[in-house]
């Protein structure tokens, strides 16, 4: 079989093989920040080789249109590569849309070029490609809209929602089965895509803002799997490999995220989290809390040996990360050991909080993941919670009636002193009461995160000089 390949074709396949190896190395080097940038170079070289190889393809007659497409894509891509770090989650969701759009369009074009001469297996894979691709296009667009806060973040639910969704999916699969049997039914194909697009919208509507890290990962996985299906259709090994890598990466991240929120996939997709909690937050009573001023907070912090800062997305919203860096510098200079405890779902996508802190020049070896740092809280003098809420809620450990019961949390309540910077006593994003605030060892620091950390830094500086 290989004897039939022209020399040129063999050369192209070898370029694709090298690109595949470089892609795998690229991901392997992401294992540590010290080697990660090699990973980018490997990926870029692989990509360049693959594109050059494709341009050598003997059937290509029109290079002008390709060049225009590449240039236009670059013009759109550059601004997307320069967004602010807080906007990275919505940028990522948008790029899932683009990736899936490419796959869906290519799949549609292949259908119309080949129909009615399509084998049953090929038609089945093509259907998977465009259904997964189609739902990822609109689903990711919805997710991006929610993250950008163009669309409402709260879950929109109605009676029979899951039934409607399942019905739509069933119709799409029904059309796919019909096309497998009758690949000449060219008029039906657009309906399959339209239903997949509608399904993507409806799938994301009931999902709340707090679940976005899981949803982005899941859509990442779908985008990868649809690309792998495209590889089957085009018989491109490189594409199958790249799609499988992306698909499994998204899957691994979704699993990590669901575990961190103590939820199953099905629960994320069909649960509408926010609804449950709104009722749970109903029963509240006025209880006394202990307050402290910036001056008192600074005195306690400067007397401490070990401090753990627990940042949440609220810190990023208040743009407080640079003030937090000043606090880190100031305390480190006094010989206080300062570390940061990172919950897997801190931020709005996997790993988002690390990027936000790294941007503020906080060294990455100070950012410690949850499982590693949780044992250290009992020996910690001060746990400083900035803009985090549910991930510090001890009810997740103790109160079986709490909606977040069982969710892994940072054990800040075990520190000698807990300080929480918070605007007011309002319950957070998910609307759950946090008993942490009423503990005897907890001090509430009411105010804007950026301003409050700023005044602690000033107090520290004043006491020093």
């Amino acid at each position: 079989m290989t004897a039939e390949l022209a020399g040129n074709q063999v050369f192209i396949e070898i370029l694709y093989l090298v690109a595949s190896v470089l892609f795998i190395l690229s991901l392997k080097w992401m294992s540590s920040p010290t080697t990660a940038r090699h990973g980018i170079w490997a990926g870029e070289i692989g990509m360049l080789l693959a594109i050059c190889g494709t341009l050598l393809h003997h059937g290509i007659i029109d290079y002008r249109l390709i060049a225009i497409g590449l240039v236009l894509g670059t013009i759109i891509g550059v601004p997307l590569g320069r967004v602010a770090m807080t906007a990275v989650p919505q940028r990522t969701a948008l790029s899932h849309t683009f990736g899936a759009l490419c796959v869906t369009l290519v799949g549609s074009a292949e259908f119309y070029l080949r129909s009615p001469d399509i084998s049953p297996f090929m038609m089945a894979v093509l259907s998977i490609e465009v259904i997964l691709g189609g739902l990822t296009v609109t689903g990711s667009l919805m997710a991006a809209g929610k993250l950008q806060e163009i669309l409402p973040q709260r879950p929109l639910t109605y009676k029979g929602q899951n039934f409607v969704n399942f019905l739509l999916l069933a119709v799409a699969i029904g059309i796919a089965v019909f096309l497998v049997l009758h690949p000449g039914a060219r008029n039906l194909f657009p309906f399959m895509i339209l239903i997949a697009l509608a399904f993507g919208v409806l799938l994301i509507i009931p999902i709340g803002g707090a679940d976005m890290p899981t949803v982005i990962s899941l859509l990442n996985s779908y985008a990868g799997l649809s690309a792998a299906a495209m590889g089957f259709v085009l018989n491109s090994k490189l594409l199958i490999i790249a799609g499988a890598l992306d698909g499994s990466s998204g899957m691994v991240l979704s699993i990590i995220m669901s575990k961190a929120m103590n939820r199953s996939f099905t629960n994320v997709l069909f649960g509408a989290f926010g609804q449950v909690q709104a009722s749970a937050a109903g029963a509240q009573e006025e209880r006394p809390v202990r307050r402290a001023t910036a001056e008192e907070a600074a005195a306690i912090l400067s007397a401490a040996n070990k401090v753990i800062v627990v940042p949440g997305y609220g810190m990023a919203v208040a743009q407080a990360q640079h003030k937090v860096r000043e606090l880190y510098d100031s305390l480190t200079k006094r010989g206080v050991e300062v570390r940061f405890a990172i919950h897997p779902v801190a931020g709005r996508m996997p790993g988002h909080m690390n990027v936000l802190l790294a941007e503020a020049d906080i060294p990455y070896d100070r950012l410690i993941e949850m499982d590693e740092i949780n044992g250290d809280f009992p020996q910690t003098d001060v746990a400083l919670v900035i803009g985090a809420n549910d991930v510090t809620n001890p009810a997740a450990r103790t109160d079986a009636s709490s909606p977040i019961y069982g969710m892994p949390i940072l054990d800040v309540d075990k520190a000698h002193t807990v300080m929480v910077i918070k605007r007011s006593m309002n319950p957070g994003f998910a609307g759950i009461e946090n008993p942490l605030y009423y503990l005897d060892n907890t001090l509430m620091l009411f105010g804007d995160a950026k301003a409050f950390v700023g005044s602690i830094v000033r107090e520290l500086g004043g006491a020093h000089g």
Binding site: S31, L55, G250
Partner: protein
């Protein structure tokens, strides 16, 4: 073209690459999960090769038009994805070499 041996080959590649993916990704530091996602996004945009062939072969105006949009979409992911991953990774610094004064 889509013979059954091609199909079996493709399935082998898919399953094995999936396993490599799982094993490699599991070892990625949680520190870098965000750049990981933007990097896999850029790599996934290798789908551009399928779109390039569609545009270049120009078998029908429909396929060329769809392919053209697909080339734009995928290229924007390649360029944007590599750029933002690089920007993020540049920010990760260790405290070991020199503490800030």
């Amino acid at each position: 073209m889509a013979s059954s041996s091609n199909l079996i080959n493709a399935l082998f590649i898919f399953v094995l690459a999936g396993f490599i993916g799982f094993e490699v990704i599991r070892r990625v530091s949680p520190l870098l999960h965000t750049p990981l996602m933007s990097l896999t996004n850029a790599l996934d945009a290798i789908a551009v090769v399928g779109a390039i062939v569609l545009v270049g072969e120009h078998k029908s105006s429909l396929s060329a038009a769809l392919g053209f949009i697909a080339v734009i979409a995928a290229t924007s992911n390649i360029v944007g994805g590599f750029m933002i991953t690089d920007r993020m990774l540049k920010m990760f610094k260790s405290s070991r070499p020199a503490a800030k004064p």
